[in-house]
Amino acid sequence: MGQYISRRSVHGLVSLIGLLILVFFLSRLTGDPTNLFLPLDASVETRQEFAERHGFNDPLLVQFGRYIGDLAQFDFGTSLRQQRPAMDAALEAFPTTLKLAAVTMFLAISLALIVGALAAYRPGGRFDRTASVISLAGASAPDFWVAIVGILVFAVSLRWLPTSGTGTWLHWIMPITVLLIRPFGLLVQVVRGTMISALSSAYVKTARAKGVKERVIIFVHALRNSTLPVITVAGDQAAAIVNGAVIVETIFGWPGIGRLMIDSIIQRDFAIVQATVLLTAVAIFVMNIVIDVAYAVLDPRIRHN
């Protein structure tokens, strides 16, 4: 296991370097921030002077060399907009998204396991049909649309929930729900699928032959075996959750890294784009390691190989 993780780490490092190079050059291709940063009325000389001062006039490779040099000293660059170390801004925003993602994924996985398992118990039955259609319908709606409708219905008309922002636990409900519906819908399908095959598997027959109660068969025998594929899919979903977080953070006014990332690229604040991508990539990498460990914990066959 240790060896496996160290090999994964090497791969991760290689990918990370590749990612940094890609982000650096791709973002530079989107254009020079000078025009965007300076007022429309700024003179050509002012623009020239600004670009010179911030090094935008140097050849890309020179800029890249400078970036790598700074990186080696753990200097992740300075934000043009915020005029402070980009990593500070990224680290400030990161916990919000992390919390949002963690709570969402925890709820999505737990709910999906319960709903999916019950749906799989009688495939085609009434509960299965209802659960499938509702979960899929939720996952099929554009998330920003759900978010705004949610605000208009639950905050403005019904006054049950706050419109947006952070603060009490009530502020969490809508963002989490919006973020949750897509992974939940997909995971219910995955759990249902794996549970159907788990429930028709041979070891379930053995358990029935032993006289094990159905409840134990579903939630002890079959469910544990179904968690592996679920974890794989959940991992992909968790890695992609920053996409949903962009929407949720934008609409609900949450100070997260998804919004920061998007705002920064729109404003061509490259240092922050780089810092946020680096941070999320490291987070995804760590999560993958955790998933590998979880595999090993959940499945002894993996543990012993």
Partner: protein
């Protein structure tokens, strides 16, 4: 190899299309989904020709006309948008762009991802390693950001939106293909082909691709739905399809500005997206069941029971 505990069925040979239709009819949800998708596909092909310029002709007097009335003609039964254009007509015309973009993006992703996955899985060694690291890079690049960056570099036309959506979906196909290839290349019929003297290209094309393809197609159905949603998210961020082109996603994104005063602008295209993705999901889970020999009986049973 244990034979299943059930009886062995020698599958009847007669008319596979009828067989599929029968299995579809057995699952009412899938049947309705298939019917809905057929209608949508019909509009995607003939819609623009049927509706003409009704979808683009402006009538500011009908701005945000509410739905449910045919006072201004059948075309306005779903209401009118912010420029007084018929929402129904726009939905029909947009289906072409919407489905076209999603289909093109999914196909492109499937072909690129599939090919790279074949190379990574079958050739392995350093090309495989490079491809896998490339996949890792792509997967740790938040896809919305990637899309934004690419669309900032290239202008957000239909073609570029397709490219962007395709790029972000490549890893799914790549990883699936690679995993399948690793398994398939150990199968006996591949070994048998090697014993016959078949070369790598032949084995890949004749033996590996046909086996991987159905799995990829199943994924594609779900992906199709995801791509439609991603496309609308791009519109929300302002880099998706731009007027005068429009898609359902762009209609929702533009209509969201009116959710407080004219909900129908965003509601109908949102509903269209939702129903289409729902239908695709239902159909693909039906297809998964119908093609899985251990689950297929669930569709073949003739009697109803109450869960």
């Amino acid at each position: 190899m244990s034979e299943a505990s059930g009886p062995v069925l020698i599958a009847p040979e007669e008319r596979p299309i009828r067989q599929v239709a029968l299995l579809l009819w057995r699952d009412k949800f899938a049947f309705v989904a298939a019917a809905y998708l057929s209608i949508v596909a019909f509009f995607a092909v003939f819609g623009p020709w049927l509706v003409g310029d009704l979808a683009t002709s402006l009538n500011l007097r009908l701005r945000n006309a509410p739905p449910g009335s045919i006072e201004h003609g059948w075309a306005f039964v779903l209401g009118a948008d912010a420029l007084g254009r018929s929402i129904l007509a726009r939905l029909i015309v947009a289906s072409q762009n919407t489905l076209g973009i999603a289909a093109a993006a999914v196909c492109a992703a499937m072909i690129c991802g599939g090919t790279l996955g074949l190379i990574a899985g079958y050739v392995g060694k350093w090309p495989g390693a490079i491809i896998m690291r490339f996949t890792d890079v792509l997967m740790s690049f938040p896809s919305l950001l990637l899309a934004l960056v690419v669309l900032f570099v290239f202008e957000p036309g239909v073609k570029n939106v397709i490219i962007v959506l395709a790029i972000t979906r490549i890893p799914i196909y790549l990883r699936t293909t690679r995993a399948e290839v690793l398994e398939i290349r150990e199968r006996m019929f591949v070994t048998a082909a090697r014993v016959m003297g078949a070369g790598s290209i032949r084995i890949v094309l004749r033996h590996v691709v046909p086996i991987v393809a159905p799995t990829l197609v199943t994924i594609a159905a779900i992906d199709f739905a995801l791509v439609m949603l991603a496309e609308s998210a791009l519109s929300f961020l302002g880099v998706g399809i731009q007027p005068p082109e429009f898609t359902w996603g762009a209609m929702v994104a533009l209509g969201r500005n009116y959710l407080g005063s004219a909900w129908w602008l965003a509601f109908w295209p949102g509903l269209a997206i939702m129903l289409t993705t729902l239908a695709l999901n239902l159909l693909s889970s039906w297809a998964r069941m119908a093609t899985d020999p251990t689950q297929r009986w669930r569709l073949e049973i003739t009697d109803k029971y109450d869960g």
